[in-house]
Amino acid sequence: MFDIISKQLIAPAVWRQTIKAPEIAGKRQAGNFVIIRPKVGSERIPLTIVSSDNQRGTIDIIFQVVGATTMDLAEVESVQDILGPLGHPTHIANFGRTAVVGGGVGIAPLLPIAQALKQAGSRLTTILGARSKAFLILEEDMAPISDQLLIATDDGSKGQKGLVTEILKPLLEEKKIDFVLAIGPVVMMKAVSELTRPYGVKTMVSLNPLMIDGTGMCGVCRCKIEGQTKFACVDGPEFDGHQVDFENLTRRLAMYKSEENQRREARK
C-alpha cells in the first residue's frame, strides 16, 4: 500500500496527489511514468510522475477523472499498487530555442520535462492550451521557467482564443524555434507534428496508448513509428512526432470505449 499524503483539486475533475513511494522517488527522472492500481481488483493505468521529492520519499501525479479507474483513484486514501519509474527518461540537452507545447492535462507530463530542459540551458517558449481559464493547470509552475509564456483557450477566457498551433505557426514562420516538444490530446500532438513537418523542426511527442503491465509483456501499448512496431512502455513513451502513426493510435485508444463507458456508468 502507498499512502496518499495530500490531494488537491487543481481544475474541474483534475487532481494532484502526493504519494509516499520512496523507492520510486529515488530513481525517477523527467519523462518517467508509473502504473497505478488504486484498489484491489482495479485496472492498471499509466500516469506520469510530475515531480518527486527524494528527501520526503514522495512522488506527485496529476490526473483527470475520465473513467472508472481515475474515479477510484480520486477517492482512495492509499493506493494498492504502484510500479515504476517506467519508460525511458526524456533525452535532456540544450536544444536552443525550444517550444514546449502542452494541452489540457498534458501540461502535467510536460512540466517536469520543461524544467529539465530549462536547467540544461534551453530557451523555453511555453505554449499552453486549455478549454477555458478554469481548465488551465500549472501556469504558475510553468511561468518561472519560461522565457516566454503564451496561452490559448478555446473560448478566449484566457490568452488568445483558439488553438496552440495558431500560436506556434508564426513562431515557426519567423524561424524562432529549433525544437518542439508537444504533450496533450492525440489530435493536438498530431496537429503540432503536421505543422512543424514542413519547417523541418524536430518535434517530440509523448504517446498515451492503452497499457496493462508497463514492462513490455503484453504488447497492448504497441504504436507504429516509421512503419515499425514499438512498445510505448519500454521503447517510449516519447517518439519523433514526424514518424508517429497518429491514426493508428487514435483507433487503438478507442478499442474499449463501450466497455469503459459501461464500467463508468456502473461506477456512478
Binding site: K27, G41, I82, L83, I212, T215, G219, R252, Q262
Partner: protein
C-alpha cells in the same frame, strides 16, 4: 505378481459442460484410485523415472507413502525436491519426462506419476500443511528477480540453505506465467498457486511485488546498496512476438500475453464484474500450436457469446508443440483446428476492428534446424475467414530491460542471458535461469534451473573470502 497395466485415468468435467465454465477440467484422483495407482509402481531398484524428472524427485519414495496410506509423509517426501507439487502435477509434460522414463512405459502404461504428485499436492492444500523447515541461518542475503516457477524454486532452495531471501516481482501478483498465463481451468489461482507460494512465505521467503528490476532498482543497487551477496535472475521470456504481417495492429488483434493477462491476471473472464475488459466477439482465431495457443483458444471458447474458435497452425498435428492432453481437451471442447495454414494479412472494418483473416495453406517440405519439416506455401491456396478477434500465440522473446540496464551482463544474439550449467552469468555472484536463459520452455525445466543455481550460489558463497 503379474504386471498391472490398468492405468488409472483422470476424471474430468464433460466437454459440453466445461466449455461454458472456467472451473478446473481435471478433477483429481480419489484416495482409492490414488492408492490403486500407487500399487502399480514396481519400486524399481534403479528407478529410471527419477532420471526423467528435471528436479529429480524421489518418485518411488513418495509413491510408497501413498501406498502405505500416509499422505502426510508423501507430502514431506515430495517437498524435499519440489516446493510446487500441486502445480507440477497439473502442468508438467509428464508424458515426455518422468512417465516416459518409467519402466512400465515400455508396456504402454507408465505409472501416472503426475496424477499422483497432484494428489499429494492437493492433500497438502486440503489439510493446510505448512512447509516444515528448520533453517540454520547463514546471515547472508540473496535476491531473486521474478516470481515465476524458476524464481520461486530458487528462493525456496536458498531459504532451506539458510539464506535470507527476497523475491522481487514486477507485477502486482506473484507466480509469473503460473498466474498471468495459465488459465484457471487448468491451474486454479486461489486454491493452488497462491497456496504453494504461501508455503514459501511461511518458510521465511520475503516477497516484494511492484518492483521492476532495472527500473525500481538496478542489479548493482541490489548488490551494492541493498547488500545482497548474490542475485538470481528469473525474469522469463515474456516479450510478445508478432508475425509482422499487414493488419496486425488492428483492434482486437491480441498478443497471447495480452489476451491471457487480461483473462487471468486481471480476471476479465469474470465478465463485467472485472475492472479490466476484454472483447472476444463471436468468432475468434488463435494463431499458433503451443500450450499458449491452446490456453488462449480454450479461454476464448468459454466466454459468453463466442460461437466459433479456430486454431490456425502452420504445420501438421504431429509437429504441434502443445502437450497432447491440452490439444485433446481443446479438440473435445470444439475448437476447430486448421492445420497447415497460416495467416498472411488481416483486414478491418472502417472503425479499425479486425474482420477478416486472409490465410494460405501450407505443405510440409524438408526438415528445418529444429528437425521438424518446414512448412512451404501452396501457391494459389489463399482463403479468408471472418473473425471478431485474433490471438497471436507464436512465441515470445527475451525482455530487454535487465540486459539494457546491467553493464557487462552477457546475452546471446536473441537477447537471452548467457549462463553456464550452474546458472552463473558473465558477472560475479549473478546467476540466471529459466526461460530468460533457455528461451520459452517448461515449468519444470525452469524449476530445475532455479534449484541448480541455488546450490551453486551456496557453494560460491560458502568459500571463505581470501584475506
Amino acid at each position: 505378481m503379474p504386471l498391472n497395466l490398468n492405468r488409472v485415468s483422470m476424471p474430468e468435467q464433460e466437454p459440453e459442460v466445461r466449455c461454458h465454465n472456467f472451473k478446473e477440467v481435471n478433477l483429481g484422483l480419489s484416495m482409492e484410485s490414488a492408492r490403486a495407482e500407487a500399487g502399480r509402481c514396481l519400486f524399481c531398484k534403479r528407478p529410471t523415472c527419477i532420471e526423467g524428472c528435471p528436479v529429480s524427485i524421489n518418485i518411488p519414495h513418495f509413491i510408497r507413502a501413498i501406498l502405505d496410506n500416509d499422505p502426510h509423509e508423501a507430502v514431506r517426501r515430495i517437498r524435499v525436491d519440489n516446493p510446487l507439487p500441486a502445480i507440477c502435477g497439473r502442468v508438467c509434460p509428464q508424458e515426455s519426462q518422468c512417465e516416459a522414463a518409467c519402466v512400465l512405459n515400455k508396456k504402454g502404461a507408465p505409472v501416472a506419476i503426475g496424477a499422483l504428485e497432484r494428489y499429494v499436492g492437493d492433500y497438502a492444500i486440503r489439510e493446510g500443511l505448512k512447509a516444515e523447515c528448520v533453517v540454520k541461518e547463514k546471515k547472508l542475503k540473496a535476491a531473486v528477480v521474478g516470481s515465476g516457477p524458476s524464481g520461486l524454486t530458487c528462493a525456496g532452495e536458498l531459504r532451506k540453505l539458510g539464506y535470507a531471501v527476497t523475491v522481487f516481482e514486477a507485477l502486482h501478483e506473484l507466480g509469473g506465467v503460473l498466474t498471468y498465463g495459465i488459465p484457471e481451468f487448468r491451474l486454479p489461482q486461489e486454491a493452488v498457486v497462491k497456496f504453494e507460494i504461501e508455503a514459501l512465505r511461511t518458510m521465511g521467503v520475503e516477497f516484494k511485488t511492484n518492483r521492476l528490476i532495472g527500473k525500481t532498482h538496478l542489479i548493482s543497487d541490489l548488490m551494492e546498496i541493498e547488500g545482497f551477496a548474490a542475485v538470481y535472475i528469473a525474469t522469463g521470456a515474456g516479450y510478445p512476438q508478432f508475425m509482422r504481417i499487414p493488419g496486425e495492429d488492428l483492434n482486437y488483434v491480441y498478443s497471447a500475453n495480452e489476451f491471457l493477462t487480461r483473462m487471468n491476471l486481471m480476471q476479465a473472464y469474470q465478465g463485467d464484474a472485472a475492472a479490466t475488459p476484454i472483447f472476444v466477439g463471436k468468432r475468434v482465431a488463435v494463431i499458433g500450436g503451443g500450450n499458449t495457443a491452446m490456453d488462449a483458444a480454450r479461454c476464448a471458447l468459454r466466454m459468453p457469446g463466442v460461437e466459433k474458435v479456430s486454431l490456425i497452425y502452420r504445420r501438421s498435428e504431429k509437429e504441434m508443440p502443445a502437450r497432447v492432453e491440452e490439444a485433446k481437451h481443446a479438440q473435445e471442447e470444439g475448437i476447430e483446428f486448421q492445420f497447415l495454414t497460416a495467416p498472411t494479412e488481416y483486414l478491418g472494418t472502417p472503425e479499425g476492428a479486425v474482420r477478416t483473416a486472409r490465410c494460405i495453406r501450407m505443405a510440409l517440405g524438408e526438415p528445418d534446424a529444429s528437425g521438424r519439416r518446414r512448412p512451404v506455401v501452396i501457391p494459389g491456396s489463399e482463403f479468408e475467414i471472418e473473425v471478431d478477434a485474433v490471438v497471436v500465440a507464436i512465441g515470445t522473446q527475451a525482455n530487454p530491460i535487465i540486459a539494457q540496464t546491467t553493464p557487462g551482463l552477457e546475452t546471446n544474439k536473441w537477447g537471452y542471458i548467457v549462463a553456464d550449467q550452474n546458472g552463473l552469468t558473465s558477472l560475479q555472484n549473478i546467476y540466471a535461469g529459466g526461460d530468460i536463459v533457455s528461451g520459452a520452455a517448461t515449468v519444470i525445466l525452469a524449476m530445475g534451473a532455479g534449484r541448480k543455481a541455488a546450490q551453486a550460489i551456496d557453494r560460491a558463497l560458502s568459500v571463505p573470502a581470501p584475506h
